[in-house]
Amino acid sequence: MSTNRGPMPRRGVWDCALLALAALAAASVAVHAPGAVRVTAVLVAACLLPGGALLTLLPGGEAPQTLGYAVGLGLAVETLGALAMIWSGFWHPVAWSILLGGAASCLLATDLRRQLTATSTRAGR
């Protein structure tokens, strides 16, 4: 676990934005939003959410690199998961997506709580 984290506000905003994105993507699928909205929301969430969640376990960096790491890590995890399903014949893409999105949201929520706790501790001193 990292000690050299980025400044809390930016990191907290990043967590909040990704959680909002997860909610938007889930809602757009659930209510079967218009095609363009649904595809865009799910695509952006797929590109950023799992990787962004993994980055909460690692030290922060500059914005361009953070974005790049999130995209790369997220797509790698999703691809390896999809490969495992397709090679094994255990094809459950919706369940896999819910599992991945849920795990990512948990990581982000945990990190957000940590950031808020750290902020309030600093404010109390």
Partner: protein
């Protein structure tokens, strides 16, 4: 203090970074006005463009002046935001993204169907995996490298569009924007100046003309490859370079060289290594060529001492070659592992025709000019950076720019080796050119140099990237014909194309049909009997024979795009395919199975009392595999 700020304080002998101060919000909003106006003008300019009837010069000749004005405003707006003091980097990023939207979003705005006929075979694989939930390794090479297709199948299921065509038209823009983000991130790590990184992103957009960002495994592999490079250079870099190389550079350019930048890695080494291995595993299972490109680049960086640990290279090599070994028989049988070790042979592209139309000759000339301009610019940039003492710091970019050329020593990749070299080197060539420009001390000269390069590259890009859209854009009617075929045609039959240009293997049922590997195979234009002559009733028997090479029954498809292909490349005289279609329609051996204004499919009737056809029955998939003499520029694997 950020790494970037620290570097600037260290003060390389280059021009001071621009724009350390930022405009206020009102100023920023004002500077964005031309961009917003350009975006509106761009969209309005496309309202009356008829993409279904383009001439031999492709889309550029059909685009109105408003489109060019909008593009010029966006490109020059980006250059201004990148070079003017006081402009916020976000403004520059906005203009760069606008350029991406204009260049890569024009075709999907004009045509709802994905362009490139060969996109549809990828759609077919995704639909097949969705329908079956597993791969069938004996079907084709895509079932053996299913990473991209499996992920796309998950995505399609999730968004509820079982047919990826619903969103695949926008894949070019989506992949390009993601690539752009990663290129900017990599260059920012190496150069440590965000404006240089954003400018490199701009030039990357303008030099990435080879059309490989469509809905395809190579576009996906390329994206993951960029992410892998990002982690390698940012988290596993040592900041060291061999002293001998530094001394050699200093002797050649007669200038002292600055030492490498300190490493930026903040992740635990184990985490970075796991991330790289995971990315490589995803790339290896998604695309055949990309892992080797990455392996060469990482190997060179490791040998030069700029990346550690050593053993990471061994792990990447083990994954790459292990996967190949598991599929070696299939590759050897269908493609061959190496085509030639002669680089001059491997850079030869497929010869479609000896006498292309003036429009296609013009396209080719512009593409060659573009290649020459980028490589000449890169060489000059490397020299300039070395003269400014930055060769050591630019070493990673130089390695990344030149290492893709290694492919031409082993493969011609279906005549596309040159295109792949351009694809993999273009981000780093762009970065080197931009970095050299940013070493110009005088601000106005720097801005003028960047503007000149950007404008020239924009002109070359528009012709190179959009100049073949008369062949690439498919009408909804043509796609509907393909959809009909894969839903209703008899399983075990074969679909022969009159010429390349049909959305082939589009349906989930595609493995049930016979025919050889390769794009647009089988098609009549590979046969000398159909080339360079007027066609008609005399060739109808030849059509039946071509079908019977693969199956007793089959179909022949005539489409608008196929006719355009044959005529633009002057494989047949004008009207030849129309005459052949009319002759097929009159023949008792064929019946019309499907028709719409852009596409007609005729079915060969099973032989009754007629003479037995000269049939050579082969295996279902690889029977009678032929060369790709009439395969358009594009992708086979």
């Amino acid at each position: 203090m950020s790494a970037a700020t620290g570097t600037m304080a260290a003060g390389p002998p280059v021009a001071a970074d621009v724009g350390s101060a930022s405009t206020g919000r009102p100023g920023r909003a004002l500077a964005a006005v031309p961009g917003v106006a350009a975006a509106v003008l761009w969209r309005l300019s496309l309202r009356h463009v008829n993409a279904g009837n383009l001439g031999e010069y492709g889309l550029p000749a059909a685009l109105p002046a408003g489109w060019y004005v909008a593009l010029a405003v966006a490109v020059l707006g980006a250059v201004t935001a990148l070079t003017r003091r006081g402009k916020h980097p976000l403004l520059a990023a906005g203009y760069v993204c606008l350029v991406a939207v204009m260049l890569y979003g024009t075709v999907p705005v004009l045509s709802p169907e994905p362009h490139y006929a060969w996109t549809y075979k990828h759609v077919g694989v995704v639909r097949y995996l969705e329908a079956n939930g597993t791969v069938s390794p004996n079907v084709d090479i895509y079932n053996r490298w299913p990473g991209f297709f499996a992920l796309a199948a998950v995505f399609s299921t999730l968004v509820g569009d079982r047919d990826p065509v619903a969103y695949a038209a926008w894949a070019d823009l989506a992949f390009t924007l993601l690539d752009l983000a990663l290129v900017v991130a990599v260059v920012n790590v190496i150069v440590r100046r965000l404006r240089v990184a954003l400018a490199a992103g701009l030039l990357f957009l303008l030099t990435n003309w080879v059309g490989q960002t469509y809905f395809s495994p190579q576009a996906f592999g390329y994206l993951l490859g960029l992410a892998l490079i990002l982690i390698v250079v940012s988290q596993l870099s040592t900041g060291l370079t061999p002293p001998r190389l530094t001394r050699l550079t200093e002797r050649v350019v007669r200038r002292p060289q600055l030492p490498g930048e300190p490493p930026t890695g903040t992740w635990p080494k184990a985490a970075a290594t796991v991330a790289v291995v995971a990315l490589d595993a995803a790339v290896v299972a998604s695309h055949q060529l990309t892992p080797y490109m990455l392996l060469v680049a990482v190997a060179l960086l490791t040998v030069l001492g700029t990346v550690r640990p050593w053993w990471l290279l061994a792990v990447l090599a083990a994954i790459t070659f292990g996967y190949l070994a598991a599929n070696l028989d299939f590759i050897q049988h269908n493609y061959g592992l190496f085509t030639s070790i002669d680089p001059f042979n491997n850079v030869q592209g497929p010869k479609i025709t000896q006498h292309p139309s003036p429009g296609k000759v013009f396209n080719t000339d512009v593409e060659l000019l573009f290649i020459a301009a980028v490589w000449a610019g890169t060489c000059l940039a490397v020299w300039r950076l070395a003269r400014r003492g930055l060769a050591v710091r630019a070493l990673a970019l130089v390695v990344l720019a030149f290492s893709p050329a290694a492919i031409v020593f082993g493969q011609n990749y279906g005549g596309e080796a040159t295109l792949r070299v351009i694809l993999f080197s273009s981000p780093w060539c762009s970065a080197l050119i931009v970095w050299a420009i940013f070493t110009i001390d005088a601000r106005h000269a720097r801005a003028a140099a960047l503007a000149t390069v950007a404008v020239v590259f924009t002109g070359l890009f528009v012709v190179s990237y959009l100049g073949q859209e008369e062949l690439n854009i498919l009408s909804p009617a043509e796609v509907s014909a393909s959809a009909w075929f894969y839903r209703h045609a008899h399983r075990g039959s074969v679909l022969v194309l009159a010429a390349p240009g049909f959305p082939y293997r589009y349906g989930a049922s595609y493995p049930s049909f016979r025919g050889p590997e390769g794009d647009a195979n089988p098609n009549l234009m590979t046969e000398p009997a159909f080339q360079g002559r007027q066609l008609g009733a005399a060739q109808v028997a030849g059509v039946a024979e071509r079908i019977n090479v693969y199956a007793k029954t089959g179909y022949i498809a005539f489409t608008h795009d196929e006719q355009t292909f044959a005529e633009v490349f002057r494989i047949t005289p004008p009207g030849a395919l129309q005459r052949l279609r009319a002759a097929v329609a009159r023949s008792p051996r064929f019946r019309l199975a499907y028709a719409n204004p852009d596409a007609q499919i005729y079915e060969l009737q099973p032989p009754r009392a007629t003479a037995a056809p000269r049939v050579s029955h082969h295996g279902p998939r690889n029977a009678g595999r032929r060369g790709s003499a009439a395969t358009p520029r594009g992708v086979r694997r």
